[in-house]
């Protein structure tokens, strides 16, 4: 073990470098499809890897939806930015991004209100340092008619 000494370091406080804006309710008829846009905001000065980073060792942005009232058929990520950082070409997201999910309500889904839940995993960096991978809980109201 490397426990030689304990240090009272003032490391930067771990905080979310990305947040998710509240989503509007999605109203879907049984057996029909609908799309939902998830808006996420990345803190100024930071970037997160795109869903398809160029370097195999980097951790991609990934949205997943839990089983629930709707079935996620496809997820579309926005076009990333190309960024040259410390001599490497990166594909990243900065600022506000919108991720689109195509959902389908089952033909036999029970009508009524519920909540769709999921997770958004990301890994953020700035030009000097990176922060541990983090996961945000995401959700939005669903009304099945």
């Amino acid at each position: 073990m490397l426990g030689l000494m304990t240090l009272p370091l003032l490391s930067p406080a771990q905080q979310n470098k990305m947040s998710v804006a509240p989503s509007d309710p999605l109203i879907v008829k049984r057996g029909e499809a609908a799309k939902q846009i998830l808006k996420a905001v990345i803190l100024p000065g930071f970037h997160v890897n795109s869903d398809k980073p160029k370097d195999e060792f980097l951790i991609p942005l990934k949205l997943t939806w839990n089983a629930g009232p709707l079935e996620a058929k496809s997820i579309s990520y926005p076009k990333p930015e190309e960024m040259e950082l410390n001599g490497s070409q990166m594909v990243v997201y900065t600022g506000t991004i919108a991720i689109e999910t195509q959902f389908v309500a089952a033909k036999d889904a029970a009508p009524g209100s519920s909540t769709a839940t999921g997770k958004l995993k990301y890994q953020a960096c700035n030009s000097q340092m990176c922060f541990r991978p983090a996961t945000l809980d995401v959700h939005f109201p669903v009304v099945i008619e």
């Binding site: 073990m1 490397l2 426990g3 030689l4 000494m5 304990t6 240090l7 009272p8 370091l9 003032l10 490391s11 930067p12 406080a13 771990q14 370097d55 060792f57 980097l58 951790i59 950082l85 410390n86 001599g87 490497s88 990166m90 890994q123 960096c125 030009s127 000097q128 340092m129 990176c130 922060f131 541990r132 991978p133």
Partner: protein, 147 residues
Amino acid sequence: MVVKLSDYRGKVVLLNFWATWCGPCGVEVPWFVDFEQRYKSQGFAVLGVSMDEDGWAAIKPYVSDHKINYRVLLGNDTIAQLYGGLDSLPTSFLIDKEGRVAFPPHIGLISKNEYVNEIQCLLENQQTTSLHAGSDDTSASLACPAK
């Protein structure tokens, strides 16, 4: 296998916390490979402590791809807490021959020259002062890195 920093007493150690997914950490890796090669015979060692959550499955290919010639270890949250939490990477400590942290830690990417100056300083100077936790004397540090 458990590695103790005390096993390295008598050597200058660059203790680097990193991860395979950390771009700035990757910038430093070739520097550390160079340091290990250049200073090893003078009583110097790099210890790279990976904070990868996927463990050796992630680390081994990276070590191979980047031809890392220094010792790489797998860290965990317990280790992280001992070193201030390690919320951001890279974070590096220069440890003197007596096993003390010789300079304030480097949190984030710094220049290669800063490392060179500190390593050479510690290799050339036996008399060091340190920044111990709880020490009343935190103002004293080696002057030589100001090259």
